[in-house]
């Protein structure tokens, strides 16, 4: 078939003539099926406009069910009807044209200016909406026609589809649709251009229907219920209504019924046609099914998220995909995904049988449907054969070159892995398959951050790529290791999380000595070929060896040495770790290598000289070391590094053990006493003083604040202080070795605030950033006196979560908690909509080869992408290079 090119798309209105021309059948009976069970001739399901019954043939094109796409029919309306979709425009046009001669109420000159403007904007492909709006507005101001001198009357639009004319005495006269149509017909072609219409494609009077197109039955198929009864589509129901009323209108009119009855029927017909187009019109009761359910008519089919556009065209359900629960597996690589065997047996990849893979393919077919087998084979003539228990052996023997084999997924196949909401491009990445037992997808926990996944029941989707091109593209662009650096902020988004950080923190902290066996143990499952020179030897007297060995010196390696074995040679990094006390910011000198906390990390030629490894070094979102390795050595080295580091962390933390229990939140009685007295009680006393000062009129207002606001602000400050102080005291009593403190300090999970709230004091609850003040008149709860401003009357929780909250504290906490919940719910829906709008606005922009950003017409939007031409996913925190680092390197080279 010859490829055809789309030259253009034309939008317009359907004229009555056109509707009749495309109609295959004029429909006059509201009935569908006759007593014989066959569609009724000239009925709504007649055989000229499409077939939905198996075995029947279309009387228009001769096609069977499935072949015949369906054909439009039509209903001749006995009276003109306003098209609801154009009701507003009709009103505007009526108001802008003469009631007698139909010309647009503007002077010749003005008209020409507007016409010229419209023409120019059309050429420039700019929307002419604003000009048209202006035309309609200006023309509506005229009171006497400048062409036929007819005085104009004011037009009133009564929603949804009625128009009235008001004469000079203020009397209203209804304009029936027939009057409206007549008026629109009078508008001359040259004036139609002024409404932004082309009279060849859209004449105004075509907005008033005289004939209604009937969609083919294929667009509104009836379904047969289990009881054998037929249930018609909502659209068919609506069309039945229309035909009935249309017929009654005709009968009444022909019988010479009174005008009142005719108008009522006309109105009813209008209502049915309105709701046929849109059953959700403001101020109109929706048409309902017998059961009371509102009917789903044309507009409802198209509109919204589940509508034809967003639901069926932009988004569809797809084949070759799987979805199941996610669980962690730290032993697989970051670019792998564990796929359940059941899934691997269902999803297939089509392989062409060639000389080179013939033997392998024959073996595969020979296995039949047992795992690395096949589901279908396709012979050279294109016939598809299902592989069954009984035929697989014959098929394997018959296998020939040129056949196609739909084989199961096997280890190493590349697939796309996705977790909703897909907010950024890292929400879909390419993974390599690893077929595994059981029923869940397995994922390396280091890849959780880009997907924002956890394992509390999350499900993910997998898509199997079907063409070689797609596989190549996925491998080059979407592989996990390609996307270690996030395009969002130019730093690693994949890195150690949770226990890996704790493990490395514990491992690299303090001075440890490992004899050979221990080194090998901690390095198990990691490829290290050379342990290098040991850092020293245990003295024979240290009691390390047993028996003969006790006399011999035993070599040992330090933790920093072992960590260095994972680092690539030539790597140089220096930075201040997370435990840094910010000496510089406090005006003191940074001790660097001699830092007492060992917070200064220095890596020289791939050797960890000093420093504790924490979240800042290897975590996702920060990962300074990962970022450096990625830039210097590339994705593969980084991938192995992350894998090795994870294994080291697990090996070590498994050895020393790490847990956090409820007793880890315990603080000795004296500590609790101290928190009560020094922090909470002190603050409460100060708050009382503030209140006394306020009531005594001694309090001075802060600039820009009312006196009461000042008081509230100071109280809030004081109470926040109380919580921080109690946190500090708690931290002292918990000690640095407390697992909670360890996790917070290393950045593995949680913060000191979390610990404070659990162990010491929950603190002030707030609603909209203020203390809680709503509830009863002048008080929050009936337990307090009206006007009580004390801390406990406005939601200060002195207890810790561990100690437990008093009933009142509990209630205040619930108030604050609910606000947080509502906020997140509102935020997600708002940001979701905002993102949708952004994506729709930006989706056609493209970075061209010359670095410019252009839209589809080739208009330059930006002369340089992002103004600096930097791809953030290849940048260093969004910068082209880290200048300081470059200089440091250059200086080193010189020395």
């Amino acid at each position: 078939m010859r490829m055809k090119k789309i030259k253009g798309i034309k939008f317009g209105l359907l004229s009555s003539k056109e509707v009749r021309k495309m109609s295959a059948s004029r429909i006059i009976t509201p009935d569908t099926y006759g007593e014989d069970g066959f569609p009724i001739e000239r009925g709504l399901v007649n055989q000229h406009i499409g077939v939905i019954d198996p075995g029947l043939r279309c009387k228009t094109c001769g096609g069977r069910m499935g072949e015949c796409p369906g054909h439009f029919g039509h209903i001749d309306l006995e009276a003109p009807i306003i098209h609801i979709g154009y009701a507003k425009l009709i009103y505007r046009i009526l108001a802008a044209t003469c009631r007698k001669c139909g010309r647009v109420l503007l002077g010749e000159e003005e008209k020409n200016i507007f016409l010229e403007k419209i023409k120019k904007q059309r050429e420039r492909q700019v929307d002419v909406g604003d000009v048209v709006k202006l035309v309609l507005k200006e023309a509506a101001k005229c009171s006497v026609c400048m062409y036929c001198a007819e005085p104009q009357q004011r037009i009133k639009y009564d929603k949804p589809t009625a128009y009235k004319e008001i004469d000079e005495e203020g009397k209203e006269r209804r304009l029936m649709p027939s009057d409206v149509r007549e008026r629109l017909e009078r508008i001359p072609d040259e004036d139609v251009f002024m409404f932004g219409m082309d009279p060849k494609n859209a004449r105004p009077e075509w907005m008033v229907l005289t004939v209604l197109p009937v969609p083919p039955v294929t667009a509104r198929p009836s379904i047969t219920l289990e009881s054998g009864q037929r249930s018609e589509d909502d659209l068919t129901h609506k069309l039945v209504d229309i035909i009935r009323i249309n017929q009654r209108f005709m009968e009444n009119r022909d019988a010479g019924a009174p005008q009142l009855i005719i108008e009522d029927l006309w109105e009813l017909l209008q209502y049915h046609i309105n709701t046929y187009f849109d059953n959700n019109i403001a101020g109109v009761p929706p048409a309902r099914h017998r059961s009371g359910r509102p009917l789903k008519t044309i507009s409802q089919r198209l509109k919204g998220k589940e509508g034809r556009f967003r639901g069926s065209l932009s988004g569809k359900r797809v084949n070759f995909s799987a979805r199941t629960v996610l669980s962690p597996d730290p032993d697989i690589d970051i670019d792998e995904v564990g796929v359940p065997e059941a899934v691997a047996k269902e999803l297939t990849i089509t392989v062409n049988v060639t000389e080179r893979n013939f033997d392998v393919m024959r073996e595969t077919v020979k296995r039949g449907k047992t795992h690395p087998g096949v589901n279908y084979v396709r012979r050279a003539d294109g016939r598809k054969i299902k592989v069954t228990e009984s035929n697989y052996e014959t098929l394997a023997d018959e296998l020939e070159l040129g056949w196609k084999v739909e084989r199961h997924l096997v280890d190493g196949d590349i697939v796309l892995f996705n977790r909703q909401p897909s907010l950024h491009r890292l929400s879909i990445m390419a993974h390599y398959v690893l077929v595994m037992p059981d029923k869940t997808f397995r994922l390396n926990p280091a890849v959780c951050p880009p997907y924002n996944a956890d394992f509390d029941g999350d499900e993910m989707n997998m898509h199997v790529l079907q063409t070689e091109e797609a596989r190549a593209e996925a491998k080059i662009l979407m592989a996990v290791q390609r996307n270690i650096i996030s395009p969002r902020f130019g730093r690693p988004i994949i890195g150690s999380i949770h226990d890996y950080i704790t493990g490395l923190f514990l491992f690299t902290r303090g001075e440890k000595r490992f004899e050979k066996e221990k080194v090998l143990d901690v390095l198990s499952k990691i490829e290290v070929n050379d342990l290098g020179e040991p850092a020293g030897t245990f003295e024979p007297s240290s009691g390390m060896g047993v028996g003969d060995a006790a006399a011999r010196p035993i070599p040992y390696w330090t933790e920093k040495q072992i960590f260095s074995m994972l680092l690539p040679k030539g790597l140089n990094v220096e930075f201040r770790g997370k435990t840094c006390a910010n000496c510089i910011e406090r005006g003191e000198e940074c001790e660097k290598e001699k830092c007492l906390r060992d917070a200064y990390v220095k890596i020289e030629d791939g050797n960890l000289v000093c420093g504790i490894i924490d979240e800042k070094a290897l975590g996702s979102f920060k990962g300074i070391i990962i970022a450096r390795i990625f830039r210097q050595y590339g994705e593969e080295v980084t991938k192995t590094f992350i894998k090795n580091v994870s294994r080291l962390a697990i090996n070590y933390i498994k050895q020393v053990g790490f847990s956090f229990g409820i007793s880890d939140e315990d603080i000795p009685e004296e500590g609790k006493e101290q928190i009560r007295e020094e922090a909470v009680h002190e603050a409460e006393k100060k708050v009382e003083e503030l209140i006394r000062a306020y009531e005594g009129g001694e309090l001075e207002a802060l600039p820009g604040r009312a006196l009461e606001e000042t008081l509230e602000l100071l109280i809030m400050q004081e109470l926040a202080h109380a919580r921080d102080d109690s946190g500090d005291i708690a931290e002292r009593y918990l000690g640095i070795e407390n697992p909670g403190v360890l996790m917070a300090k290393s950045g593995a999970r949680g913060s000191l605030l979390n610990l404070t709230q659990m162990a010491a004091c929950v603190g002030q609850q707030s609603v909209r950033g203020e203390r809680i003040k709503r509830g009863y008149l002048g008080r929050t709860l009936p337990h307090f006196k009206p006007g009580d401003r004390s801390s406990d009357a406005h939601g200060f929780v002195r207890a810790s979560f561990k100690d437990g909250l008093s009933p009142m504290e509990y209630f205040f906490h619930a108030i604050g908690g609910r606000e947080a919940l509502v906020d997140t719910a509102v935020r997600t829906s708002q940001s979701g909509y905002f993102q949708r709008r952004l994506i729709n606005a930006l989706q056609d922009l493209e970075v061209k080869n010359d670095g410019t950003v252009r839209e589809t017409r080739g208009t330059v939007v930006q002369f340089k992408y992002g103004d600096d031409g930097v791809d953030p996913s290849k940048s260093d925190s969004g910068k082209f290079v880290d200048i300081d680092e470059v200089i440091r390197e250059a200086m080193k080279a010189e020395i």
Binding site: R124, R854, F863, D867
Partner: protein, 80 residues
């Protein structure tokens, strides 16, 4: 300060707008291999355009301070 007499060009939030010379425009169009119509547009009624008295079909050079790029040049075609 004089009331209502200050030029908007003086305002710190208004980047520098100048009418680009013919040569400059030719070079620009040649560098990016584009037609004038492929530039971003700015309306003749824009206060800045009135201020610098540019006319339809002129190209204005806009010099912005940018946090990422330092000095940033962009061009716009004046339309009706």
């Amino acid at each position: 300060m004089k009331k209502g007499k200050d030029s908007i060009l003086e305002h710190e939030l208004v980047p520098k707008h100048e009418i680009a010379g013919e040569e400059e425009v030719a070079e620009l169009l040649d560098t990016y291999k584009i037609r004038k119509e492929q530039l971003s547009k700015i309306k003749l009624s824009d206060p800045v355009i009135k201020e610098i008295k540019a006319e339809v079909d002129d190209v204005v050079r806009i010099t912005r301070r940018s946090e990422i790029a330092g000095k940033l040049l962009s061009y716009r075609l004046v339309i009706e």
